[in-house]
C-alpha cells in the first residue's frame, strides 16, 4: 500500500459531466424545450426538497433562538410579546445553576474521554492487529450496551452503583458515560489502527525500535486522527447524555441536559432554550473538526 490516499473528490466531479450528457444521447433525442422544462422542474423539486430539509433542521433551532430572547410569550400570540436578554443574564450570572452545570458537564465529558481512550486505544490496537480467536465476538460485546433498552440497564446499574457508593458521584456518572462511549471509541480506534500499514511498523522494528517505541512513534501518530475523532464522539455523547446521568447522578450531579430537563419541566422555556443552545456549540465545533480528521480509508474500516 502506498502512503498517499487517492482522492475521491475528483472522481466524483468527473462523474457529473458524464451524467449531464445522458439526456443528449441520440437514442432518446428529446426536444430542446422538453429538456429545458425537465431541467426547471428538477431544479424546483430539488429546491423544495432542500427547503423542507432545511426547515426540519433549522425550524426547531429557530424556535429555540426565539424562546431564548422571549421575555413574555403566551397564547394566542404567534410571536413573543416582549423581547429581551434577561434570561441570558440569569443563565450566565456567576452564581447561576447553568454555569456550574456547564462546568460539571465539561469535566465529566473530559474524564469520560480519558477513561474511554484508556480502554479503546489498547483494545482497538489488539482488535486491529492481533489474531484474536473471538475477535468478532469481542467487537459485538462493545455493541451490546446499545442493544438493550437503556432505561432497564441504567436502573440496574444504579442499583449496583448504590451498593458501591457510586450513585450521585462524578466517578459513577463518568463510568456510565464511558461504557456508552466505548461503543464508538473501540470500533473507530480498531479501524484507525487497522488502516496503519503493517510494513510501517515492521520497518521501525527492523532498524532497532522496540515494540513499545514503535507503537508510540509510528502506530499511534498514524492512527491519531481516527483516535481523535473517536475522542470527540465520546465527548459529545457524554455532553448530551441524559438517561444514565439521571439514574446514577441525581440529585448531587447536575449536568446541562439535567438542568434543561428540570427547566422545561418547570415551564421555564427560556432557561431550557438557552441551555440547549449552549449544548449545541461544542457539537457544531467538533463536527467541523471530525470532518477534517476522519479520512475515508479509516471510515471504510469501521466494523471490519
Amino acid at each position: 500500500m502506498t502512503t498517499d490516499h487517492p482522492l475521491t473528490a475528483p472522481r466524483v466531479a468527473g462523474a457529473i459531466p458524464a451524467f449531464r450528457k445522458l439526456p443528449q444521447t441520440r437514442a432518446r433525442a428529446p426536444s430542446a424545450s422538453s429538456v429545458r422544462w425537465g431541467g426547471y422542474l428538477g431544479t424546483i423539486l430539488k429546491g423544495l426538497g432542500l427547503a423542507v430539509f432545511a426547515f426540519m433542521l433549522f425550524g426547531p433551532l429557530a424556535n429555540l433562538a426565539l424562546w431564548s430572547v422571549a421575555e413574555r410569550w403566551y397564547t394566542p400570540f404567534k410571536l413573543p410579546v416582549t423581547y429581551g436578554l434577561r434570561y441570558w443574564e440569569v443563565v450566565f450570572r456567576p452564581t447561576g445553576d447553568a454555569m456550574s452545570s456547564l462546568a460539571t458537564s465539561v469535566s465529566i465529558a473530559c474524564l469520560t474521554v480519558v477513561v474511554a481512550l484508556a480502554v479503546s486505544v489498547p483494545a482497538g490496537y489488539a482488535l486491529a492487529r492481533l489474531k484474536l480467536p473471538l475477535r468478532t465476538l469481542l467487537m459485538i460485546v462493545f455493541l451490546l450496551p446499545q442493544a438493550f433498552p437503556s432505561v432497564a440497564i441504567y436502573i440496574n446499574v444504579a442499583r449496583v452503583f448504590y451498593t458501591l457508593g457510586l450513585t450521585g458521584t462524578i466517578p459513577g456518572v463518568v463510568l456510565v458515560h464511558a461504557a456508552h462511549g466505548l461503543v464508538y471509541s473501540v470500533w473507530i480506534a480498531a479501524a484507525a489502527f487497522a488502516a496503519v500499514d503493517r510494513d510501517l511498523e515492521l520497518a521501525a522494528r527492523n532498524i532497532g525500535a522496540s515494540p513499545l517505541r514503535t507503537f508510540f512513534t509510528i502506530t499511534l501518530p498514524l492512527a491519531a486522527p481516527g483516535i481523535m475523532a473517536s475522542a470527540i464522539f465520546v465527548f459529545l455523547e457524554s455532553l448530551d447524555e441524559f438517561t444514565g446521568t439521571f439514574f446514577v447522578g441525581v440529585p448531587q450531579v447536575t449536568t446541562l441536559p439535567l438542568l434543561l430537563y428540570n427547566a422545561s419541566m418547570g415551564g421555564n422555556y427560556q432557561i431550557a432554550s438557552i441551555t440547549a443552545l449552549i449544548l449545541l456549540v461544542p457539537s457544531v465545533l467538533f463536527m467541523l473538526f471530525i470532518e477534517r480528521f476522519l479520512k475515508a480509508d479509516v471510515l471504510s474500516k469501521v466494523g471490519q
Binding site: 510494513d199 515492521l202 521501525a204 527492523n206 532497532g208 509510528i218
Partner: protein, 363 residues
C-alpha cells in the same frame, strides 16, 4: 569485531508454516560476509517468507538462522541488527525525509546535530541533497525508495535485506537504482539478500543466485552457472529455456549419437544423460539452416516459416515443426512458407531425463 570465522548468514534446515500450511520445507543457505545474494522465484515460492523470517517478522517452526555464528531464530527483529527495504517503501508519512532517515540514529541516542550531519552525508550519497525537510509524501517513487535505502543504510547495517524494492518503479529508475545499490554495496561492503522475481535484476546484481521452487531451494550458484547449467527442468525453464523437444541419446563409437523423431540424428562428442531425454532451450540458441544440412554437434529439425517480423537489427521468424512453433532470429531475409531447418547446437541444450508422465508433447 572479528566475524570472518563465520558466514554472515547461515540458514540451517529452516521450516516455516502459516498455521498448518507449510511454506518453507527445510531451507539451507550460507551467505559469506559481503556477498550479494539474489533469491529468485515465481510468486508463492516462499522467497518473501524466507526473507521475512530472516528479518524476524515471521516465526520459524523449525531450524536455525545464525548471523555471524549467533543464533537469532528466537530473537525479535529489533535485536538482529539488519535493515530492510520494502516493496511498498514503508516510509513514515508523518515524518520528513530527515525524520525517516534519522529514525534509526535517534533510536541509538545520537545527538540531534550529529544526526543532521550524518543524514546529510547519506542524502548526498543518494543524490537527495537538500531534501531533509521535505515530506516523504511529496517525493517521486524513485526518490522515496532512495530515502528508504538511506533509512536502511543510516544504521550502518551489516546485512541489508531487499524485498523486491525495485518492482514498483518504472523501468528507467529501476535500472538506475539497481546499479546504485550494487555500487553502494561494493563501497560499504554490507551483505545483501535481494528477493526478486525479475531474472535480469537477479543476474546483474547478484554474486550468487538462489532459485526457489515451492518452498525449497532448487539451485544455488553464480549467475553464469545457473544460467548455463541449470540443475533441473524447473530452473532451466525459469531461466528462460522454455522450449522443449524430446531427444534420444545413445552411446556411439566416438561420443554419443543423438536422434530426434522426424529429424536427422547427429553425433556429438559431449556426454551426460543417456536414453530418452527432454531438451530445454532458449529462443536465442536456435538458428536457421538448410533442412538437409548435416552438422556435427547440432541437430536439425525440418520445418516451415509461418511468420516473419522485423523488430530491428535482424528478422524474427516463427518456424512450425509439425504442430509446434519455435521462435528464431536470423539476419537474412526468407520468404514465408519456406522449408527450413531449425538448427540446435547440442552443447547449448539443457538435457534432462524424460519423466515418465503421459501427456508430454513431443516435437
Amino acid at each position: 569485531m572479528d566475524h570472518s570465522a563465520f558466514p554472515a548468514i547461515d540458514i540451517d534446515r529452516l521450516h516455516v508454516s502459516y498455521g498448518s500450511q507449510p511454506v518453507l520445507h527445510g531451507v539451507n543457505l550460507s551467505v559469506a560476509a559481503g556477498e550479494f545474494i539474489a533469491i529468485l522465484g515465481s510468486s508463492g515460492c516462499g522467497k518473501t517468507t524466507l526473507l521475512r523470517t530472516i528479518a524476524g517478522f515471521q516465526k520459524a517452526t523449525d531450524g536455525a538462522i545464525r548471523l555471524f555464528g549467533r543464533d537469532v531464530v528466537n530473537m525479535p527483529p529489533e535485536k538482529r541488527g539488519m535493515a530492510m527495504m520494502f516493496q511498498s517503501y514503508a516510509l513514515w508519512p508523518h515524518m520528513t525525509v530527515l525524520g525517516n532517515v534519522g529514525y534509526g540514529l535517534r533510536l541509538r541516542g545520537i545527538a540531534r546535530d550529529e544526526i543532521r550531519q550524518r543524514v546529510a552525508a547519506i542524502l548526498k550519497m543518494l543524490n537527495l541533497s537538500g531534501l531533509e525537510d521535505r515530506k516523504v509524501t511529496n517525493l517521486s517513487g524513485g526518490q522515496r525508495q532512495r530515502v528508504a535505502l538511506g533509512r536502511a543504510l543510516a544504521i550502518e547495517p551489516e546485512i541489508l535485506l531487499l524485498d523486491e524494492p525495485l518492482s514498483n518503479l518504472d523501468a528507467k529508475v529501476r535500472i538506475q537504482l539497481r546499479s546504485e545499490i550494487k555500487s553502494l554495496q561494493n563501497r560499504l561492503g554490507f551483505t545483501a539478500i535481494h528477493v526478486t522475481h525479475d531474472r535480469e535484476e537477479a543476474m546483474t546484481m547478484a554474486d550468487r543466485i538462489v532459485v526457489m521452487d515451492a518452498g525449497r531451494i532448487a539451485q544455488i550458484g553464480s549467475p553464469k552457472e545457473v544460467f548455463d547449467h541449470p540443475s533441473s527442468p524447473f530452473v532451466a525453464s525459469f531461466m528462460g529455456a522454455e522450449n522443449t523437444i524430446a531427444l534420444d541419446v545413445r552411446p556411439a563409437a566416438d561420443g554419443v549419437e543423438v536422434s530426434v523423431e522426424n529429424g536427422r540424428s547427429a553425433s556429438w562428442n559431449g556426454s551426460g544423460v543417456m536414453g530418452p531425454v527432454t531438451a530445454y532451450f532458449r529462443d536465442d540458441v536456435a538458428s536457421l539452416d538448410d533442412p538437409d544440412a548435416l552438422i556435427d554437434g547440432s541437430i536439425i529439425l525440418p520445418g516451415r516459416i509461418t511468420q516473419r517480423t522485423y523488430p530491428g537489427g535482424h528478422y524474427r521468424y516463427v518456424v512450425a515443426i509439425k504442430d509446434r512453433h519455435f521462435t528464431v532470429t536470423d539476419d537474412r531475409y526468407h520468404e514465408l512458407d519456406r522449408a527450413v531447418g531449425l538448427r540446435l547446437p547440442l552443447a547449448s541444450l539443457h538435457l534432462f531425463p524424460t519423466l515418465e508422465t503421459p501427456g508430454e508433447t513431443h516435437a
